[in-house]
């Protein structure tokens, strides 16, 4: 285990999409318990800096591993299929039409209930897409196809953030 190990090595977890969240969380806490700068407060500047680097690295890996979409993107990258969303903007027409319909629904929704209904629909869609992603990565090992799915899910994720934002506005 080194500072430049990949996230899965660092956390001692199998290199796959499906993960046990409880094991991931437990490993994160165990690693932080060893490397957190608080453990080295009285050990001088050199130890502080090393601890800081490690704690940052462990948090970075944890953030990436616990988020299914970022974990999938990372696996695609490790397997030679980088996401590069800005270079790969082509999306199927069906997908784009659905995106537009959702956007329109959000514009028209003016009650908390309406926005929450839309939220449930989109979240359900996201869940389905993640299940497909799991099959693409863990079963079919089709990383280029998985990368395409990740790109599509990035749109969905952004849209869910917009819904959240709207809920926040309506909630105030």
């Amino acid at each position: 285990m080194k500072l430049d190990s990949d996230d899965f090595e660092l956390f001692g977890l199998p290199r796959r999409f499906e993960q046990d969240r409880a094991a991931l969380d437990a490993r994160w806490r165990a690693l932080q318990a060893e490397v957190h700068p608080d453990r080295f407060v009285s050990e001088g500047a050199a130890s502080q800096r090393v601890a800081m680097q490690w704690a940052v690295r462990v948090n970075e890996a944890y953030q990436r591993l616990k988020d299914p979409l970022r974990r999938a993107a990372y696996l695609c990258e490790l397997h030679g299929a980088p996401i590069e969303a800005e270079k790969n903007t082509a999306m199927p027409a069906k997908f784009l039409i659905q995106q537009m319909e959702w956007r329109e629904s959000l514009d028209e929704a003016d009650t908390v209930e309406a926005v929450e209904a839309l939220n449930d629909e989109v979240a359900g869609h996201r869940q389905q897409a993640l299940t497909q992603l799991k099959a693409l990565i863990d079963v079919q090992h089709d990383f280029p196809q998985a990368a395409q799915q990740v790109r599509a899910l990035m749109f969905v994720e952004r849209f869910l953030a917009d819904i959240d934002h709207r809920l926040e506005q309506l909630g105030q």
Partner: protein, 618 residues
């Protein structure tokens, strides 16, 4: 001053030597200092037996000042020179201070942070806070008849970078070695959690004199993980006082003009509010320059007119649950912190929101200081200290200004600290050789709606076509929640770095000037003080390095060992001299020279701690 016990040269320090470490709650209305004694955290009383130090500083002529109870007594008589609730001005510009025309101070607009004109000259909120901190430091030193190893100081979770940096500056000015800044709700959770062996998801509702925090923490076996934090750094008991005062003035058909009147009404409003905690009605009465004022108010009236303030806290609670993707059912318990949570209406609203009775069995005034003391004791590495791990988050997103005044978020709110994140940018124009970097904090899309933290420039890039440059901007937030930003053009290697401080914080020169101008530590000569601090740091570094060599010296071959021994020898020699700059350089040389060794030690300890264990066992 934080001094280690210095042993005879060659003699080993006593491993059982206790390091005196304290927790300080630097509050809006009052402050406390606590420490762990005989395994128990307790607040330290002053010579009159009082643990609470009112956060009030009264400046008199000829550099004299009153701090705490003595200052508060004169607040109504001498409002302009008696600074209370100074925490609300920390890291804030004049425009940030709501209701400033209702406050009795003579504010001065200054770059980054507002200042106050007093009979003793212009004071920065940092200086005023440092007076309070120094008073608590002396109290602790008198209690233990010893110098302090260091302090953990608490800040509201919702404090932004400017407010945190200002707090750290104040501690430095007060001669405190800051072991860590921690968030108030986290400190409260430590005190509550350790005491009660709490496990699961807890909410901490912290309504103090001037700030409101709501944090969700997951507690398990000495680990305190903040899942989400939110709040309002300008909402507290003071606002309840102000609302009541305004209403009462309206009822009496009066407008106050003089600073004395302003302070008198606020003081009376606060007393009335406190009476209404147990009484159904009370009379807000005080003498004003225009005559005597007396307005009867019922608890119901008070609750109606402060309803909007409580609603704001409810919105914040909702937002934090949304951030944590949790529901009120997931929350096992709600810990109440801060004197303002004594208001029955507040307890009722929180109870109703979470569907469970809030936990009020702790002293809401003391719990934050007690938690900070427990963490300070653990950080000092004292034997018998509880094994604590704090995994805290940044409360507000950090980002950069991009084209069109939009914010590009680099580190999202609720990221666990310490953290670092890099993002690549490019140039907009052909032949562009410089790039202006504007660092902002906040959740809004537009730069103008966020707080500006710092501006700096990356200069001297080779001219390239628009879009050809690769500029990597790295944000790093340390364990105190403080930010530093670095920018580097990858093809040419041009770099620029900034610790996000100069645009609002105090420069080292400012601090030197304040110390010279007779701050509370004036009895010490500036240079002697700097020298002593450098010597202490050198001693600390030498001790740590020797301990590391004893433990893991076998990692080094003879050549590397010899190189480190030379650095140690050099620092020993420098330490005996009186050039504090040279000592600082020696400390830095030893730190740099042992960094690779420290990294290898970390690898070894990780291997020992974690390998062999399968994931399920961890």
């Amino acid at each position: 001053m934080a001094l280690l016990q210095i042993s005879e040269p060659g003699g080993a320090p006593d491993p059982h030597q206790r390091r005196i470490a304290v927790g300080i709650d630097l509050g809006t209305t009052h402050s406390l200092v606590a420490s762990v004694r005989n395994g128990v955290a307790e607040c330290l009383p002053d010579e009159a037996g009082r643990v609470i130090l009112p956060s009030a500083v009264r400046y008199l002529d000829q550099g004299r000042r009153h701090i705490g109870h003595d200052a508060l007594k004169e607040a109504a008589a001498d409002p302009r020179n008696t600074i209370v609730s100074v925490k609300r001005f920390m890291g804030r510009g004049l425009a940030d201070i709501a209701d400033r025309e209702k406050l009795p101070y003579d504010f001065i607009e200054a770059p980054g942070m507002v200042q106050l004109r007093t009979v003793d000259g212009v004071k920065s909120p940092v200086e005023v806070s440092a007076e309070i901190l120094a008073t608590l430091r002396y109290r602790a030193e008198d209690t233990f008849a010893d110098d302090l190893f260091g302090a953990v100081i608490t800040v509201p979770a919702y404090f932004d970078d400017a407010q945190r940096q200002a707090t750290k500056d104040a501690a430095q000015l007060a001669g405190l070695n800051v072991l860590r800044l921690i968030n108030e709700p986290t400190a409260a959770a430590i005190a509550y959690g350790l005491e009660n062996g709490a496990e699961g998801l807890y909410a901490v509702y912290d309504l103090g004199g001037g700030t409101f925090d709501i944090s969700l923490l997951r507690l398990s076996k000495g680990v305190f993980e903040v899942v989400a934090a939110g709040g309002d750094s300008a909402l507290g008991g003071d606002d309840f006082d102000a609302a009541l005062a305004n209403w009462a003035l309206g009822q009496a058909g009066l407008t106050v003009m003089t600073p004395e009147d302003k302070r008198a009404v606020l003081v009376a409003a606060r007393a009335t509010k406190e009476k209404l905690t147990t009484a159904d009605h009370a009379t807000l009465a005080c003498p004003l320059s225009a005559g005597e004022m007396a307005v009867r108010v019922t608890r119901e009236q008070f609750e109606t007119l402060t309803e909007p303030l409580i609603t704001r806290t409810v919105s914040a609670m909702r937002k934090v649950l949304r951030d944590a993707k949790a529901t009120t059912d997931d929350v096992v318990g709600v810990v109440m912190v801060g004197g303002s949570t004594r208001m029955p209406k507040v307890q009722h609203a929180v109870g109703q929101f979470f569907g469970k009775t809030p936990l009020t069995n702790l002293n809401p005034d003391e719990v934050v200081a007690l938690g900070a003391a427990l963490q300070a004791n653990a950080l000092a590495g004292n034997a018998g200290a509880e094994e604590l791990l704090l995994l805290d988050v940044i409360p507000l997103s950090l980002g950069l200004e991009t084209m069109g005044g939009l914010v590009e978020r680099i580190i999202p709110r609720n990221s666990t600290i310490p953290t670092a994140r890099a993002q690549d940018f490019t140039t907009f124009k052909d032949g562009q050789t410089a790039l202006a970097i504007h660092v902002v904090q906040g959740e809004r899309e537009l730069v103008s709606d966020c707080r500006s933290l710092a501006r700096f420039e990356l200069r001297g890039m080779p001219p390239m076509a628009a879009g050809a440059a690769r500029i990597r901007v790295t944000f790093q937030v340390d364990a105190d929640g403080l930010l530093s930003v670095a920018a580097r053009e990858e093809t040419s290697g041009v770099e620029a770095t900034i610790t996000v401080k100069p645009s609002y914080g105090l420069s080292d020169d400012d601090i030197a000037r304040m110390l010279k101008e007779g701050f509370a530590t004036a009895e010490e000569d500036m240079r002697a003080r700097a020298l002593r601090e450098s010597q202490v740091e050198a001693e600390r570094m030498l001790l740590a390095t020797r301990a590391a060599l004893d433990a893991d010296g076998d990692l080094l071959d003879a050549e590397r060992r010899a190189a480190i021994d030379v650095l140690i020898q050099q620092l020993e020699t420098l330490r005996a001299g009186d050039d504090h700059h040279a000592i600082d350089r020696g400390v830095e040389a030893l730190a740099t020279g042992t960094e690779a060794f420290a990294a290898e030690r970390m690898n070894r300890s990780l291997r020992q701690a974690l390998t062999g264990k399968r994931v399920e066992e961890v």
